[in-house]
Amino acid sequence: MPSYTLTVNSVEKTVSVDTDTPLLWVLRDKLGLTGTKYGCGKGLCGACTVQYKGNAVRSCTLTADSVLEGNITTIEGLSEGQNHPVQQAWRELDVPQCGYCQSGQIISAATLLSKNPKPTEDEINASMAGNICRCGTYTRIREAFQLAASKLDE
């Protein structure tokens, strides 16, 4: 089995996995970073969203050998002390229901705000379109965006 060195949350990790192993399963089964979730395995639901080189990507559709060049940020490494403005806003508004989709939602939201600190509603809708919340926390996510944006402003 080939071995790969990935940078996950700014730490280098070497894993031996088959070339076609999706990043999702490297994170979950090999590195024990289970905050990133499996929902569909086909890039359809967003539960597995992580940042790669600062972009939100679906870790279920990227193989281990295609993410060797930059940092991979998972929910566990999004911020020091879990205090990213998006996480703060999520807490203040008690956003999650079952919570299973939330890591993906938070990573998608944080990525958009890092590129566009004042997104319009259309921009939010477009960049969150890949994240399903089966429980229906969407209205709170929308509110949390406003709150997080205002925190970034301060």
Binding site: W25, A126, C135
Partner: protein, 727 residues
């Protein structure tokens, strides 16, 4: 409010080795209708530590409905605990906790009095201990912030300093609940207990469990219901790196329909065991299985619905009031409509999975289930175990919506752990999850009304034909089940009424889906009422109010009556909040529906716009909810938001179809779910009152469907009688 206890011995105080005061309970013994056995064993519910921290047990499974926060809040309230120094501990499955399941919107309904009683009992004991210590009368004390407080002198004693005295005090025979207007925790927006973990990836779901020496598993099941495995070639699958074994799962070998037609069941298939989840998924794709489908009906959706239609004229009568034939003869006019409701999958965000360690004679399980009791029963029957040999942990669950009443996936995992002699984590792919669900039954429904000269209903006949979830996996000899019940609305409201059921047998596994039969029947009944209003050229809310009549108690069946005052109140309020009487611009419309469900009353108005191409956009939903006391407004609002969105989404897109006996959909590309951009504004208001809290998980969902369909009619003049809306 005083409550004399019939079963004082359901609770017991002890002091642990570390000096903590533990209130153990035996909740089973205080449930009515249960044999009142002598109680010897107790399980902890409240623990007061010497450092002042209080641990409260969350007894029911947390599926995202918020009970892990809400039930301990009730305990803490009556106890007078400082919520900031409360740790909530999830209980394992334990029959002593009783009714330890999630479903039917029952958690708060069944536990409100119990949690209050337990909390109040411990509070009274602590007060008595303080009164003894300070030599002052008990009446002068209250509890607050985990302290006993002497109201006259402002002197306080923290709970932890009363442990020794309290443990010596006999439990009271009568408890007095706190007056609801003195509540300090119940009724407040309390953030859910796992919040920090949920926003940082640290909440552990069953799918995240990792045990030493654990192997991974997945299953490839015969996509055809009631099909079997004829043979399989696993040569390529075994070549996948990490594959350890390939094991056939054979229904008959494991007891077949082990627990009856509506219980845990095995679908025949082949399992892959490997050293990673990915290896199992990859190898499962390389299995070449020859399926044996001789036992299958090989059903197709069209043909199933044809049978439903045909069965409309071959029914049993579930309720009969007055004489509908007579009402018809004397009617000024009549009206009828036929509706079609599709099958639906649950598609919980966390796919079916279960981890089992069955290496010894103890079967230890980590399972996302709403129904641990069914799993225990299944394991007992399958492996001949004693209850003590089964340990079921209940981690947080990534959505359930009724799917996790059925424990088929957990039974598979137990079989695989037993066979491999290893701890096994079984994870279904999303494809298996969608194809092997216990679907919300589709149905065909015909409603006919006889009308007087004012267009009001004098006779009502509702016929529902389908395959019933109560006879799921349709073989003869199962229990006779119907999808229309004698208490279904508008039973009790129309003098001449007949509810009928046409039963069709099908192989499709059918089960509970959020709001169960109401998820379908609310659509037909409340759209039909809207049609009658339009026919009568009356405003739909005016028509509904006239239809239900003035404020009164409407008896529906024994111990089920309808307080119309509460229903009318939410209807009038939603009319106001939604600006119902203000005209909308061209191309927009509002639709309305109001129901009682799980003891709560909900009225909803949906506002939509539709462009020239009849492309529909849902603009806004207004909802008024009367569920009695709102235990945790934050969680309660979330339930209403989620229920409404689930209803809207199902109405727009939800449809499972079958071809040659198998489900055609497999993942989120063909089983569509609502995305952010489609989500309307939602405005929710709760009616404030002091009535005991009722259910909220299910009731918000059903009215959203007819309210949306009625809004589309108002906007476009197009009447939809077949769901989903987007075909």
């Amino acid at each position: 409010m005083k409550n004399t206890l019939k079963r004082r011995n359901f609770i017991k105080l002890t002091v642990s080795a570390s000096g903590a005061l533990i209130a153990g309970v035996h909740l089973q013994s205080c449930m009515p209708k249960k044999p009142q056995a002598e109680v010897h064993q107790f399980s902890p519910l409240i623990k007061i530590d010497t450092d002042g921290w209080i641990s409260l047990i969350a007894k029911n499974p947390e599926i995202g409905q918020g009970v892990k926060t809400a039930l301990p809040m009730i305990l803490a309230e009556e106890l007078g605990a400082n919520w900031n120094k409360v740790k909530v501990v999830q209980a394992d499955y334990d029959t002593i906790y009783d009714e330890q399941w999630a479903g039917g919107s029952y958690a708060i309904i069944l536990n409100w009095d119990l949690m209050r009683t337990a909390g109040a009992m411990v509070r009274q004991v602590l007060i008595e201990a303080a009164s003894k210590k300070m030599n002052l009368p008990v009446e002068e004390f209250i509890t607050k912030n985990s302290k006993v407080f002497h109201t006259k002198s402002n002197k306080t004693l923290p709970f932890e300093e009363l442990i020794a005295e309290a443990s010596q005090i006999p439990l009271p025979e009568e408890v007095e609940f706190k007056p609801t207007d003195s509540f300090e925790i119940v009724g407040k927006n309390i953030p859910q207990v796992d919040l920090d973990k949920l926003v940082s990836g640290g909440a552990e779901f069953a799918i995240d469990i990792k045990l030493p020496e654990m192997v991974y598993a997945t299953v490839l099941k015969n996509p055809v219901f009631e099909g079997g495995v004829s043979s399989y070639d696993d040569e390529d699958a075994r070549l996948v790196n990490g594959v350890i074994d390939i094991i056939e799962l054979n229904n008959a070998a494991y007891g077949g329909r082990l627990l009856g037609p509506n219980s845990p069941n095995f679908v025949n298939g082949v399992a892959v065991i490997a050293n990673s989840t990915w290896a199992t998924f990859k190898a499962a794709k390389k299995l070449k299985v020859v399926w044996d489908n001789t036992g299958s009906r090989k059903e197709n959706t069209d043909e199933i619905f044809e049978r439903f239609h045909a069965q409309l004229s071959n029914t049993s009568i579930e309720r009969k009031d007055g004489d509908i034939a007579k009402a018809k003869r004397s009617a000024a006019s009549s009206f009828e409509a036929v509706y079609e409701v599709p099958f639906l999958a649950h598609a919980t965000m966390e796919p079916m999975n279960c981890t089992v360690d069955f290496r010894t004679d103890v079967c230890e399980v980590w399972v996302p289930t709403q129904n641990p009791e069914a799993l225990q029963e299944g394991l007992i029957k399958l492996f001949g175990l004693q209850p003590e040999q089964i340990k079921i942990h209940l981690p947080r669950i990534g959505g359930a919506f009724g799917r996790r009443y059925y424990v088929d996936y957990a039974m598979d995992a137990a079989v695989l752990s037993k066979k491999t002699g290893k701890p096994v984590k079984l994870t279904w792919t999303r494809e298996e999850d969608i194809r092997h669900d216990w679907y919300r039954p589709g149905s065909v429904q015909k409603i006919s009304a006889s009308l007087d000269k004012d267009g009001m209903v004098t006779g009502w006949q509702h016929i529902l034909a389908n395959a019933s979830r109560k006879t799921s996996l349709g073989r003869e000899g199962g229990p006779a089940g119907t999808e229309i019940d004698e208490y279904d609305f508008p039973a009790g409201f129309v003098p001449n009424l007949q509810l009928e059921y046409g039963h069709v047998l099908s192989d499709v596994p059918l089960g509970q889906w959020r709001a169960v039969a109401s998820s379908a029947n609310a659509f037909t009944v409340h759209c039909f009422l809207d049609e009658l209003a339009i026919l009568n050229k009356t405003d739909p809310i005016d028509y509904f109010l006239k239809f239900i009549g003035p404020e009164r108690m409407v008896p529906v069946v024994d111990d089920y009556e309808f307080d119309l005052k509460r229903l009318i109140h939410v209807v009038e309020k939603v009319r106001q909040n939604s600006n119902w009487d203000t005209p909308l611009p061209e191309g927009q419309g509002r639709g309305f529906a109001a129901r009682k469900g799980a003891g709560s009353f909900i009225a909803e108005v949906v506002t939509v716009s539709a462009d020239e191409n009849r492309k529909i956009k849902i603009l806004k939903v207004d909802a008024i909810v009367d569920c009695g006391i709102v235990v945790n407004p934050s969680g309660a609002t979330a339930q209403v938001e989620g229920g409404i969105l689930e209803g809207l989404c199902a109405a727009l897109y939800g449809e499972i179809t079958f071809k040659d006996g198998a489900t055609e959909q497999s993942n989120f590309h063909d089983y569509k779910w609502m995305r952010m951009g489609e989500v309307p504004e939602i405005h929710i208001e709760f009616i404030k009152n002091e009535l005991p809290p009722r259910g909220l998980g299910e009731p918000p969902l059903p009215p959203a469907i007819p309210a949306l369909v009625n809004a589309i009619y108002a906007a476009t003049g197009k009447r939809i009688r077949k769901l989903p809306i987007v075909q």
